[in-house]
């Protein structure tokens, strides 16, 4: 039994680490590809593999591979007066903390397996004596109802911590120190300045990050990330109950990642490359990698707390249940393991979509000035997050006092948001599938861009450009 649990833990760790590693590598490609689309140019296409005289380019997908090879084989040197220990420790800290943060993020609902036997329980549908769904289960994901039959819970999270979100804060706080000592140990004035900027920027937005979650926590009544997702599955997604907190958290998370528009610590026109100017070879590669891994973990947190995590609208532990208030429209019993695996796919899919949104943000916005950054963080986002807490508290009290009519209304409203989400997801997936099989013409790509706008306004200038 213990060996099985150990094996399960190892497999879960591998799933999370592999997902973050691979998605981060693919994101470096997505970042370049997206930038080329936005800037209306041909994307990364230099990395080529020749097989039997044929050139394989794969739309630039070979670039992350080439990058990795180059990181490993580049000459790795450090400035003579650098602090050798801290210089080497900083990239390990920056990357290790991002990875460790993932440990407490749940990627699926708890699977109830009969003593870890996959068969014949795989097809087992949890139903009552008359074939109805067991919606009397107290909390989705608990196996309490079946424990006397020897059903064992398999939680799809590496470490279901009781302190949940606090652990995430604790880990993201260590990233500040990684950046700070990287800059300090480099013996470079630009690095040191970048490090100080990085530290004070991350510190400023860390507060907003924490405060925006207090409101969400008041609604969910828990700090455990898996219970947060269960609340969203039963009621409504966090983005509907805490819309302001969602935007505050998103902005703060992008600022913590130190990506455009918050990339002042590494603003290349001011500070060369910020706190990792002096890093070469694999050590630079680790900082580069940590940035993309942070995009992935930030997206995971956003999905878990505000976008329903593994939850799909109307999918419950033992099947599909379309219900508005007390009126049930549809009940379909589906094997519990299927629903859970579908949820796992949904979680990873949502994470990929949010990552793509972050890439889009990066290539759409200009960089802030440092005083604007500080003003935004301290004088706009922080008071807004406090006001959010206040309003949430007052509304909560009002609903509590209003009685059952109001809570019934909210119940139906929550179910309506689920329906909205279901429709939006169906539409987007449908558009995606249609887009994948449709023919893409170059003109079609150009229409939304500046060149297209210029063409519609009467064409671009034909005179030679001035230097």
């Amino acid at each position: 039994m213990t060996a099985t649990l150990l094996l399960a833990t190892i497999v879960k760790i591998l799933i999370m680490v592999m997902f973050v590693l691979n998605l981060a590598a693919i994101l470096t490609w997505a970042d370049r590809r997206q930038s080329s689309m936005i800037q209306d140019r041909v994307g990364p296409n230099r990395a080529v593999i020749k097989i039997f005289g044929k050139e394989l380019r794969l739309a630039g997908l070979l670039h992350p591979l080439a990058d990795g090879l180059k990181f490993f084989t580049k000459e790795d040197f450090m400035p003579p007066n650098a602090d050798r220990l801290l210089f080497t420790l900083a990239p390990i800290m920056a990357m290790g903390m991002v990875f460790t943060l993932v440990a407490t993020i749940p990627f699926g609902d708890t699977i109830c397996l009969h003593q870890f036997r996959l068969f014949p329980d795989f097809w087992h549908v949890h139903t009552g004596p008359h074939g109805e769904l067991l919606d009397g289960v107290e909390r989705w994901g608990t196996c309490a109802a079946d424990s006397r039959n020897g059903y064992a819970p398999l939680e799809l999270v590496v470490a279901p911590l009781g302190v949940g979100i606090l652990y995430v804060f604790a880990m993201s706080g260590q990233g500040i120190i990684g950046a700070a000592i990287a800059g300090w140990s480099s013996d470079n004035k630009f690095s040191l300045m970048g490090a100080l900027r990085a530290a004070s920027q991350m510190v400023s937005y860390e507060v907003t990050l924490g405060m925006s979650l207090v409101g969400a926590m008041m609604i969910y009544g828990t700090v455990r990330l898996d219970d947060m997702v269960r609340w969203q599955q039963e009621h409504a997604w966090g983005i509907f109950v805490q819309p302001l907190a969602f935007f505050l958290f998103f902005a703060a998370a992008v600022a913590e990642n130190k990506r455009i528009p918050f990339d002042l610590p590494e603003a290349e026109s001011e500070l060369v490359s910020g706190y990792f100017t002096e890093y070469a070879g694999m050590k630079f590669g680790m900082f580069y990698f940590a940035e993309y891994a942070e995009v992935v973990t930030g997206s995971m947190l956003l999905v878990t707390i505000f976008l329903g995590g593994w939850a799909l609208p109307f999918f419950h532990r033992d099947g599909l249940l379309v219900q508005f208030g007390d009126t049930t429209l549809l009940r379909v019993a589906i094997p519990h393991v299927f629903v859970t695996l579908l949820g796992v796919l949904a979680f990873f899919g949502k994470v990929i979509v949010v990552c793509w949104i972050q890439v889009f943000v990066r290539w759409s916005l200009p960089r802030f000035r440092y005083d604007q950054l500080m003003k935004l963080g301290w004088r706009l986002l922080l008071p807004a997050s406090l006001a959010n807490i206040l309003v949430t508290g007052v509304v909560w009290l009002a609903v509590d006092k209003a009685g059952s009519a109001a809570s019934d209304g909210l119940r139906i409203a929550a179910d309506v948001t689920q329906a909205v989400v279901a429709m939006a997801m169906t539409y987007l997936i449908g558009r995606g599938v249609v887009g994948m099989f449709g023919t893409v013409t170059h003109e079609r790509n150009i229409i939304g861009t500046s060149a297209g706008i210029a063409a519609r306004r009467g064409g671009t200038k034909t005179e030679p450009m001035q230097a």
């Binding site: 833990t9 290790g96 460790t100 470490a159 013996d187 507060v207």
Partner: protein, 120 residues
């Protein structure tokens, strides 16, 4: 002790090993220069000759930001458990948190008034 913290510990070990492994692999595979030049390892400061050590005195406003951060970090840490138990506490709990936040916002107001958080 089937503690989830054991999993966290193993995750920490795995991620440290990944980091060390990357640096180690880089050390094995990296190219070594045949002729090393002192110019190459010199800190890159946009082609300027680096003068003196990089470590210099910084403006105190960074320190002020960190100070105000400590204030709000502690506030966040107190408000997180409040958010969890808030529905059991009822109106009294909201009142308690209001007083707490109001007191801390006085500090924030002072900092804003003295323009400690303003960059120029």
């Amino acid at each position: 002790m089937q503690s989830p913290w054991l999993s966290v510990l193993s995750f920490l070990v795995v991620s440290t090993l990944v980091g060390l492994g990357m640096i180690g692999a880089g050390r094995v595979l990296r190219v070594r220069a045949r002729h090393d030049s002192p110019l190459k390892v010199r800190p890159y400061e946009c082609g300027e000759e680096p003068t003196g050590p990089a470590w210099m005195q910084f403006h105190p406003r960074y320190y002020l930001v960190a100070l105000v951060f400590v204030l709000f970090d502690v506030e966040a840490v107190f408000l997180l458990p409040w958010g969890v138990v808030q529905r059991e506490l009822g109106p009294a709990g909201v009142g308690a948190a209001l007083v707490f936040v109001a007191v801390l916002m006085l500090g924030w107001l002072y900092a804003v008034r003295k323009e400690a958080l303003k960059w120029q």
